[in-house]
């Protein structure tokens, strides 16, 4: 479904990704792990089409089509969903209005009728339960005054409503306590299906206890330095990144 070939990307002229190769097939769950500054978030931003990042070399193909030629919103409609690490607030725009606009944009693209306000309200309320959010959140401004955990659940709510083909979760576990982590993980597991792929970007392996990946890749210095199965994550937890000859700024500080 998704092929990343020799991907190089830079921000403000500084090269962050230095040749990434990755194949993701429908139904698979991949985890990208790596220390801070390894380029994990850059990879998710580049996949979603954030214009702050410049692709200097390589290709990204989605079902054989060149993704790099498409605008952010076109990629979204093709089924790429990014759950943000730091979801931004949009004051005054209600979550409901925002979600309905997004869902209908998606539906129109897929040749479906737009949902009426009433039908959408029903659907949205139903889905809030799945991520343990009070339906009252639908009336509030997008992420406005939400706690960290609420913002993350709101991201998963959007994923459930937009039914993406590839969901990219950027550090979705960061800042969550264990209860919130479970709720988010349940939401993500509900997303799993044979047609849909999931790409998780994370620093720690604790999320992987709840969402079990098929493949684990270690990203360091802008390259994938090791790939393996679930067991690779466990090994990383036990031995740290140092074992792979990678410096992890967090571990250095902690030590």
């Amino acid at each position: 479904m998704l092929s990343i070939r020799n991907l190089h990307a830079a921000v403000d002229g500084k090269e962050i990704l230095k040749g990434i190769d990755l194949e993701i097939k429908p139904g698979e769950v991949h985890a990208i792990m790596g220390p801070n500054g390894s380029g994990k978030s850059t990879l998710s931003a580049v996949l979603a089409g954030n214009e702050a990042y410049e692709v200097t070399e390589g290709d990204i193909l989605l079902d054989g089509e060149n993704l790099l030629e498409k605008e952010t919103e076109e990629r979204a409609r093709d089924g790429i969903f990014l759950a943000f690490q730091y979801p931004v607030e949009i004051p005054g725009v209600s979550n409901l209005q925002f979600l309905r606009t997004a869902v209908n944009a998606m539906r129109v693209h897929r040749g479906l009728d737009e949902l009426s306000a009433v039908d959408f309200m029903k659907l949205a309320k139903e889905t809030t339960k799945q991520v343990d959010l009070d339906p009252a959140f639908l009336k509030r401004g997008v992420n406005e005054g939400f706690s960290g955990g609420e913002k993350k659940r709101n991201e998963i709510l959007q994923a459930l409503l937009l039914e993406p083909r590839l969901a990219i979760l950027d550090e979705t576990d960061s800042g969550l306590d264990i209860d919130a982590l479970k709720v988010v993980a349940d939401g993500v597991n509900a997303l799993r299906s044979p047609e849909r792929a999931i790409l998780m970007v994370t620093h720690y392996q604790r999320l992987l206890n709840h969402i079990v990946p098929d493949f684990v890749h270690v990203l360091a210095g802008g390259r994938i330095v090791k790939s393996g199965g679930r067991e690779l994550a466990l090994e990383l937890e036990e031995r740290g990144y140092g074992w792979l000859g990678i410096k992890d700024s967090d571990e250095v500080e902690a030590g």
């Binding site: 979603a48 089409g49 954030n50 214009e51 702050a52 605008e71 952010t72 919103e73 979204a76 409609r77 969903f81 990014l82 943000f84 979801p87 931004v88 949009i90 004051p91 005054g92 725009v93 209600s94 209005q97 925002f98 606009t101 997004a102 944009a105 998606m106 693209h109 401004g141 997008v142 959007q158 937009l162």
Partner: protein, 482 residues
């Protein structure tokens, strides 16, 4: 990161949809201003002597006044002798006896503007006074209103039919010597709307005036006077458009509101005068004095405005809060684009005990425009227990525009409390990225974000206008993301 700016800028290119001219036979004065012109104007309107005297006094005073230059706007010097001070469609009769007598061209014009004047196609429960250039051409729903005791007519009619009310209140809130443009208006105003709501009456429908400038080289100087007697309530809406012309045209209106004990006036404006083209050519100079006097105790005056038009705007709808416990409100959205300039805001003058006021101002600057909020909150020595809350937010779209905030706060009472806050922001790259990542069109995203920014003001508008206002912003921002 400059990408969002570029997209937003492209989205802003818009077209003015009310720019057509109506071909109609009109009687128009030759340009120029002197006592003779004022005499002719007064005569054509068959005004009583007191009115002519009032106009001439205002004119003589005006000659000694200086045009204000303190606002944050710049425009070429206006030659007041190059303007025609009267232009009216020629009519078969002196006055149309019913809507059937109104020139069909005019009815078509208003229909095109979305304001059907025929009562059978009535605008959902809204009575309309249509002012075309210098005169009121039609007023709808006069009869049901009369049944309730509400007087809703053109001010020319009121001068003849209710001279005692006019004489008592005209100029009582905005005296002829108040400022340069109010002085000019007092001398030459040609028409406008008059409303009187008697004691204890809740006006059964929304009242509205629709202003249209059509003729070239004319100014529009309308005068609106609304009096809400004790315990009454009225909601009044005002809309404005003008054809696209390369020359600037002057609009210098005066609006006076009077609220007696326990009375409430809600005054809403959607101002969409022609703003000039994308190079800043043409457009209306909108120099307007709007003021309400809360004379009575527990009275309330609420101004809501959505300003998207005009080349230059100079406008400060204000409240003089004299009555105990009286309330003033000002909710404003001002959007400027291209080379538009707006200097707008409000004055809340607290004189009475326990008076309170709220100011919510949302300024949106795009293109190369300049948008300033200018406000005064004043507590006199008698304003014991008075309160004001002010929130001024500016949104900048693109790096060529400017946004300013000039709030004046003056307090002479230790028991009065004022709180003022102001912020500045832009449509951020992160917000745009989030929306687009969810599959939303950039254009729709900007429009949604801007509407969200204005939400607190839009919720104050009557339903019919809220929808129109939201659409207006959308049109104004059209093309702003590529």
């Amino acid at each position: 990161m400059a990408n969002t700016d570029k997209q937003v800028n492209e989205l802003i290119k818009r077209e003015y949809e009310h720019g057509f001219v109506t071909e109609i036979e009109a009687e128009t004065f030759e340009p120029g201003l002197n006592e003779d012109i004022i005499g002719r104007l007064s005569a054509i309107k068959k005004e009583p002597q007191f009115m002519l005297d009032w106009r001439l006094k205002a004119y003589r005073r005006w000659l000694e006044m200086d045009e204000p230059n303190w606002a944050h706007v710049g425009y070429p010097k206006i030659d007041y002798n190059a303007i025609s001070y009267y232009s009216a469609p020629k009519r078969k009769e002196d006055m149309p006896q019913s809507l059937d007598d109104v020139d069909p061209e005019l009815l078509k014009t208003y229909e095109k503007l979305g304001i059907p004047l025929h009562e059978r196609e009535k605008l959902a429960g809204v009575a309309v006074d249509a002012v075309f250039d210098s005169v009121s051409v039609a007023t709808t729903f006069k009869e049901p209103l009369a049944k309730a005791g509400v007087i809703f007519c053109s001010i020319s009619e009121a001068i003849q039919d209710y001279p005692e009310l006019v004489q008592k209140y005209l100029g009582s809130v905005v005296p002829a010597g108040d400022n340069f443009f109010a002085g000019l208006n007092s001398a030459v105003f040609s028409d406008g709307t008059f409303v009187y709501v008697p004691k204890g009456v809740r006006c059964p429908m929304e009242l509205s005036t629709y202003f249209r400038i059509n003729a070239a080289n004319t100014g529009q100087f309308e005068r609106t006077l609304i009096i809400a007697d004790e315990g009454s309530y009225v909601s009044y809406l005002e809309g404005c458009t003008a054809p696209m012309r390369d020359e600037n045209q002057l609009h210098a209106a005066v609006v006076e509101l009077v609220a007696l004990d326990d009375a409430q006036i809600k005054y809403s404006t959607v101002q969409n005068w022609y703003p000039g083209d994308e190079n800043g050519k043409g457009g209306i100079f909108n120099f307007v004095t709007k003021r309400g006097a809360c004379i009575g105790k527990n009275s309330k005056i609420s101004w809501t405005q959505v300003e998207t038009g005009s080349a230059v705007t100079w406008k400060y709808p204000s409240c003089v809060l004299r009555g105990e416990n009286s309330v003033g409100e000002f909710y404003s959205v001002a959007l400027t684009n291209n080379y538009q300039q707006a200097d707008t805001g409000t004055k809340m003058i607290h004189l009475g005990k326990n008076t309170s006021s709220t100011i919510i101002s949302k300024g949106i600057s795009a293109g190369r425009s300049s948008n300033a909020y200018r406000g005064l909150v004043k507590f006199g020595p008698g304003a014991e227990g008075a309160r004001n809350f002010t929130q001024c937010d500016s949104l900048l779209i693109g790096d060529q525009c400017a946004a300013h905030t000039f709030p004046y706060i003056e307090s002479k009472n230790k028991g009065a409390i004022v709180e003022h806050e102001a912020t500045t922001s832009k449509v951020s790259d992160e917000q745009m990225f989030l929306c687009r990542q969810r599959g939303i069109d950039p254009e729709q995203a900007v429009s949604m974000i801007v509407n969200g920014f204005c939400k607190e003001v839009f919720k104050e508008l009557p339903m019919e206008f809220a929808v129109e206002a939201g659409k207006l912003l959308e049109v104004s921002l059209e093309g702003s993301v590529g």
